[in-house]
Symmetry: D2
Subunit: 388 residues, 4 copies
């Protein structure tokens, strides 16, 4: 059905590093050849993606001379134009090089921090040149294996100073990026600072230009800590801070798996798609994942197709949920506000406090009500199984 064929308007994006992943892991070497950036752009465009995102060094080698850099960028821009692909988001690789082994923005050595900021300034230049509007900060090395080495308050403070510095650079250059912080609890560091979506939201309120900053939640990252990702995204939306999102698959309580979107916990993925669609979120739907290591290049494109298709299938399921009379009847019943208490609580006035104070509640009645959530969840399950 054509409704499940990805279109530009679906705003699907992939990182160069995702379909470009060569299958190296801590216990094994590469299983696939590198794909050129240009070939990735072409193929993703064919598959219906809207854009491609990148770290500076996904495109330009860390030590490239200016001329080499310019030639690479120019060829890449041509490919973007040829295949009608955007670069909606850019970011900095502050994790691969040994220079960052003890941290980047939070390193104990101030010289490392300075180098990390300089590298980011240049990567921001690159992103701007490619038209990126969102700039992501994933602090993969910002953490510790032992807290003997660093006061966590210093970690947070240094992080803030670097982001304040870069926000000022953004303003100076007129880039007008939306900065999106991407949290992760651990791996590759023992523990990473700003481990969760919530931690990033809390941190943002301490920044100089907090309006410029939002979050880039990744399904796998909060899920690694066993947290409810739908709740995390809901909080980000409530705060007006969902600037970008990374979709993939992950089991709780283990290493970063970065599976195909939809590969794990269909129900949670459904609620996520439903929330994104109902919220009117207009940013990229970015797949930060990679093909299983069992795959060759054909499998990589199977993987990319699967991410997009499952999103569209779940979007249709969200639509069905809204149209399902029995589901909606249960929801309407449990949300009913026959006596106007919702209104009362929404306005913290003296009059409402006094009204509330005078009310007599019957807690036995409140406690004896059945909510029919077993039925509601079962109906959801059957809807997901296509058996409804």
């Amino acid at each position: 059905m054509s409704q499940y064929v990805p279109k530009k308007t679906d705003r699907f994006t992939f990182g160069l590093w995702t379909v470009g992943n060569i299958g190296r892991d801590p216990f094994g070497t590469a299983v696939r050849s590198s794909l050129s950036a240009v070939s990735i752009v072409r193929k993703l465009s064919e598959l219906g993606a809207y854009g491609v995102n990148l770290h500076d060094n996904d495109l330009v080698p860390i030590d490239a001379a200016p001329a080499e850099r310019d030639s690479i960028v120019s060829e890449f821009k041509k490919a973007l134009a040829d295949y009608d692909m955007k670069v909606p988001m850019a970011t900095t690789n502050l994790f691969y090089d040994p220079a960052f082994k003890e941290g980047a923005f939070t390193a104990n050595d101030p010289k490392v921090r300075a180098y990390a900021v300089q590298k980011t300034m240049r990567a921001m230049d690159l992103g701007a040149e490619l038209g990126a509007k969102v700039y992501v900060f994933w602090g993969g090395r910002e953490g510790t294996e032992t807290d003997a080495c660093k006061d966590p308050r210093d970690g947070i403070k240094r992080y803030r100073e670097c982001l304040n510095f870069l926000a000022a650079y953004d303003e100076e250059q007129g880039y007008n990026y939306r900065f999106a912080i991407e949290p992760k609890p651990n791996e590759p560091r023992g523990d990473i600072y700003l481990p969760t979506v919530g931690a990033a939201l809390g941190f943002i309120s301490t920044l100089d230009k907090s309006d410029k900053f939002g979050v880039n939640p990744e399904y796998a990252h909060d899920t690694m800590a066993g947290l409810n990702f739908v709740h995390a995204v809901g909080q980000a939306l409530d705060a007006g801070k969902l600037f970008h999102i990374d979709l993939n698959g992950q089991k709780p309580g283990r290493y970063d798996q970065d599976y195909r979107f939809g590969a794990e916990d269909i129900k949670a993925n459904f609620f996520l798609v439903k929330l994104l669609e109902e919220s009117g979120y207009q940013g990229s739907l970015h797949f930060d994942a990679h093909a299983y290591r069992t795959e060759d290049e054909e499998g990589v494109w199977d993987f990319a197709r699967g991410c997009m298709r499952t999103y569209l299938l779940l979007k249709e399921k969200a639509h069905q949920f809204q149209q399902d009379a029995e589901i909606q009847a249960i929801l309407q019943d449990v949300h009913s506000d026959a006596e106007g208490y919702a209104q009362l609580l929404a306005a913290p006035t003296a009059e409402n406090r006094s009204k509330l104070n005078a009310t007599q509640f019957n807690r036995e009645i409140l406690g004896s009500r059945g909510y029919r959530y077993e039925r509601l969840d079962q109906l959801t399950t059957e809807l997901l199984l296509g058996m409804r």
Copy 2:
């Protein structure tokens, strides 16, 4: 040694519900008799505690008539005076009664939300009468088993409305409480809103009177999700939001164990005590834990003594860490800022940006440095083992 005997100035507190825990669990019935509030106050005072904290219904039954309530409170106040004990913190029980089975501040039924707010207003009155300065919100029932029943944005929004309502009540009554939100990821609900210290910090920035609000981190709660609690407390301190703290013991990735402080992960507990002491935190050191179910009343007091004693032992270890020449030499070396980069990054001026831009970094040199953290962590381990 007298330095390990708890004193009032150590600000150790327990909840009535902690030493009063009767050992019921999901699979077993009570193993100990209830202790009266007055006997708890007396015994804790003898053991060197500074104060005792409570939920409204720890002291006053949920359906007590006014006269009964007043008589209980009066007797309890007399005990506080007799044994020189304070009530630094109070809170509301919004989780035990069936009325709250679907949530309290975030319930779908607005009448339940209204009852929860009213109950809290009365519990705030009680706390104020007992001299409490900190008021804790632990939303134990604020969550879901299935996200079919509620949009997470609604959960967050209702939570905010209720807290805004109560902050206005606080102002009206002149209580001047410091409100402390206590996060928890799950249990007794499948997933709880505001699951982590970070999530609570993020949420606070969206409240009407956000200055009145801080956090009450609990060791067990962030640890259940496998997060680094020391980092979480560090972030709260950095934001000026550490209003209260709950100390106990917990293994990651399992049910809420609420063990004696120090029973799990000695190294993490050490870094926590070190951070609290170095930060100048002046709030209560509250033990939110209970004795193993294998214990009778004697074991309960063993438990209470152990919590306090281990804190004092680790405080002494933190002092030793500061005095240890080899440890301090490693730390001094790795933090050195010989070339002034720390200063440069601290001020996001055009001049500094330009200076940074012009700097040449040698990433090979940065990457080849050894940090001696294996040695540092080993020294810490040996210090903890008393073998140094």
Copy 3:
């Protein structure tokens, strides 16, 4: 469709304690009234269940006098007959009473161990009287909060002695039970002995009458530890040791949730049903779960219906998987044994070793193959979503 209506031949069973669960949890009191054993039998029969299982004290109070016991049992047997319900499995409650707070078969106090064995002998009598063929051992209290109290070797040794004792009793009485050990990693104890299906399988090989013993894997239990339950059941089947199974829903890394079967991880549940059906397993399909605490009695029956219906829906999906040409083509391709190596490895003969030794393998060719598992898993996902 009638194929999704439970029938006796589906062998679905529930525990009295499951639909009878009154919604107590560590932080809240009961939300539902108790249901009588007889009314449970009647209602489950109406819903299509095959049988009902029980702990001794689900039916007979722990201190019942013989006459009371006999009258209860007699009334219960009449209900079983009236409603054509079986008791395929029985077990002992060795966890609720304070006597077992330090363990039952593994308690340090030998008198507690003796009492636990005696209680089990009597519960075996009860089970036999009710026609139970499988007897389950769930050692809920067999564990520790601190390993200071017990050498783990003693725990294992005592466990074995008690089971050997009871196996001899079984033989003496001619009950001819199939004994099924049910593992769990933790809760209500800090850590429980025999934490996983694997641990139980390993332990069985050390028992006097190991042929009488198998396992009763519970989805929630291995899943709490983040283990792959399908693999665990596969190992039990491979060893001929799957004597019983407990089906429910659970998220990894948290407290024991005991959700409705199918409520969590649809894909894992699908592979589980597929494995059970393909293996020819003929034991009970027991739902060891309970309704959300938000539910009243109506919700309890919604819950029971949902467990059975989802099993039947997934069974149909397993059938579709077998019929799906594209899926089967991928599987056939990756399992192909064109050169007969499978046969060679199956027979550890000198000839085969010598043949193998002489073979030249081309590891580059082996490594370059793509397995098409992204496609295979995507097809599975779409089949599960009813979009195929």
Copy 4:
């Protein structure tokens, strides 16, 4: 103190791959240079290690010609002799090469399985030549990302066939290895077969020559799944199956950290050392860990020293625990068997059953006893802190 200086008689070993680890991880490149096998042997000998263990390809490149292989082996044997170092354990690298990306002994492709067995035969030859007595099987690639691709029963069956084949080869060659299976729950595969010590023990009982097989438990591996490693080792000892052990540090519920022994959970490490020492275990104490990525070569040797020293410190603590009068008094009290029930349960005779049946137990008395485990665990904590 000389008692904390490692000696040959302490039987400490390291893998070539442990101190030789160059600090590559999923997000970063190498930070340290390779060390030659000979230099590792020399340095470890200086530090007091007893031996060094290896995978075939730690020493000999996967494609080495026979002459190259022999020359490498000969040089290595000379170094072993020169520095008085043993190779107590050898193993096969069945995870690094792309050939094994879909599994080795459990691969769907029978040719891959055959190659894996052949490679292991040759690695067994190498190990035998170097004097290894224990041969380890770590099935790092034996697992799945999606269970669509393989029936778990097939995985187990193939694993068994390969091990049976190799056991026959061992017999044929007269190597007389003790085979030790090393379980791991996940990483690098989504889920790994034989995920826990228990699963390996269960599996062993299904092998042709099960007496030849035992386990090689690794602290990090069961701990990743949040299981109690001390209990796992206790079960292995009880079954007479502890053939080897891998010591390191790990936090539950996250990626494989392989920290220095003692770096995580001091109390659990203490109980582990205590168990090993009290059990009379005489195998190698192998450190399967590596230095933090922040370290240069100096840090690597700090790491190696730390592993051994912490073991010796904890061994001394275990001795103190045995000598501590207050600790021993509590233990003696709770284990008392005044009425002879331990003896009764140890013999499953008709007489004992009848005696037990006739006994009257008072469960209120059993349930009211206090066990003083809070005190016991607190004393243990203080002993560990050197404050006792």
